[in-house]
Amino acid sequence: MNRRGFLKRASLAGAAAIAAPDVGVDAQAPAPRAPAPATPIMSASAETAVLLDTEVLTADRTGSDFMVDVLKSLGFDYICANPGSSFRGIHESVINYGGNKSPELITCCHEESSVAMGHGYAKVEGKPLGVFAHGTVGLQHAAMAIYNAWCDRVPVYVMLGNQLDATLRRPGAEWAHSVQDAAAMVRDFSKWDDAPMSLQHFAESAVRAYKIAVTPPMAPVVLVLNSEMQERPLGVDVKLAIPRLAVPAPPQGDSGAVAEVARLLVAAEHPVIVADRVARTPAGMKHLIELAETLQAAVIDQGGRMNFPSRHPLNQSQARAIADADVILALEVNDIWGVVNSFRDQLTRTSRPTTKPGMKLVSVTTGDLYVKSNYQDFQRFAEVDLAIAADAEATLPSLIEAVRRALTPDGKRRFESRGAKLAEASSAALDRSRLEASYAWDASPVSTARLCAEIWGQIKDEDWALVNGTGGWARRLWNFEKSYQWIGSSGGAGVGYGAPAAVGAALAHKRHGRFAVNIQTDGDLMYAPGVLWTAAHHRIPLLSVMHNNRAYHQELMHVQKMCNRHSRGIDRGRIGSEIVDPPIDYAKVAQGLGVHAEGPITDPREVGPAIARAVAVVKRGEPALVDVVSQPR
């Protein structure tokens, strides 16, 4: 059907609708006055359109259909959203025009959950999912989660509905839901944003946004989808094109600088590799192992990603390797200053270096390529001897080659001796961890070490992945050896990340048939517990075991510190930080949201059997939760 024929048909439908009887009118009442002729609202588009004599009420295709074509071309698997009228057009296009498949709409109960799900998902799947939200009230809910993703260098693709044309806004809520510059409030902690003015502009900006988001350093991006542009009929004669996406190869370190780093590492007596957000892909861990084994160098995995196997003989994360280091190679470490200094938080704050004089500090990070001013997540300035502004994972192969070229037979013998000592230290550290875990083994509340040991006992034979948790005892006791078994933490330490990020990560693991495990803190879950319903509704298998210490314990310790400092009210430090009276029954909360749940469990002997029952539920493809009342830390 051509445009003229389409408009004619639409006009007839409009006339029929006007002629339909008004069943709400009382037959005895005086006949209502004929309504005044409607004043056409002259939007920017209407101003250039053919003037119609009758009203058009339907359209076969609208702009949002084309937007879905663009999203499909970018390979989005999911869109997370809490529904909102400012993006009702593209919402309908996703589920009907797009068939609700690639992308599939995931129903969320809070925009913070939508973004945090995208955060967890991207770290497992290696690509972003999409988020729809209102440009005003939705984005304000989502902002905290966007900040976490920003700090964690994770791409999340946020699309905001917004009615830009004031003359088209419905009176009331749509005005409160409209904004001049929607992305402004998150511009300080997103990498790029745009508010396209046409569909072709949208297509180009959508592809550009994707390209920018997934290029290291990765970060969230924001696109504003004008509501009118979503809902405007799409003429058949309109020429629109979707640009081809070419994701840039990440930047590698300068060859001369890499050769110099190799020389330093080969000559060092005690080289130490510190890794934080290194492994973007499975290749990252493989290359880091190769570098460490070639050098027989100590590796300290700060845990921003799954960088290094927890039980590798060169893993010295539980040892004090920094003090002896003569060369430190910091790979994608955000807080390099913190690696080589200790900080004392007393009335007078002090710091001191923790390294020996003459130590050479080298950094390889994309953090040197992109930084913003306002939010201070870039940490204290570190004096490094050699800084390579590049992606560490992409630089590792050339660094390994450079190290091999610099090796000498004598050096190899020296390395073997060093490696043997490190293996002994690693083995001793594991034994120490097992011994420390045995203390308070039978205590109630349950010790955090036993909590982790009980989970490990139930999942170690599964193809498991830990998608959230402090990582402390798990990383000391569990055997992390696969690239997907750990994804780091929130990045910005914004509480409320854990539960939704775990659900998002579990969504990604689901298609790979992996068993996702979440060690869930109580305070975090209470930010947006509705995400458990999302997991139940979409049949996302996820085992959540509560580390329920009934407090915001990190903050409790800070308040306690102030109480001690002032020597007053020391026994009242818990006020405002505890989650007691009444204690929250998380099993009932989860059950109410459609999730299998047990607890609260206080007897350590009951933890294992409850987890075993939950594991069976998860293996059926559903979420399950076990609430364990635990020791504080």
């Binding site: 097992r434 308070a440 509340p445 955090t448 310790m557 001690n564 430090g573 020791q631 830390r633």
Partner: protein, 113 residues
């Protein structure tokens, strides 16, 4: 090897010359341990955790324990006499010493390598 032995010898002599801890009430000590927030970093059993060292069942020698609590070298908040008397510290000390020793690691299958 000589240096560690010398240090150990000094430590033994220092410990032997230290006054014993005044007698304390372990039950009262537990209440104080909780009410004064010690459990927040060291956990309820004094077994230590992510934020605090293990104290039980063998804390530092008494004088060293008191000195550290009054003027910690690390991040631990100081406990002045105004908020915890020496007797109250003795009660806490008695509580820490009353905690049971853990089962042998070899008897805990979940902690097997």
């Amino acid at each position: 090897m000589i240096r560690p032995l010398v240090v150990l010898a000094f430590a033994i002599i220092a410990q032997a010359s230290q006054p014993p801890a005044p007698s304390g009430d372990a039950e009262q000590g537990r209440t104080l341990f909780v009410n004064n927030g010690c459990y927040q970093c060291h956990n309820y059993e004094g077994h230590g955790g992510a934020a605090g060292a293990r104290l039980a069942p063998n804390p530092l020698p008494w004088r060293g324990f008191v000195s550290y609590v009054r003027a910690p070298r690390g991040d631990m908040p100081p406990y002045t006499v105004k908020v915890m008397s020496e007797q109250e510290l003795a009660d806490v000390y008695a509580y820490l010493r009353s905690r049971p020793r853990p089962p042998a690691v070899s008897n805990i299958p979940l902690l097997a390598r």
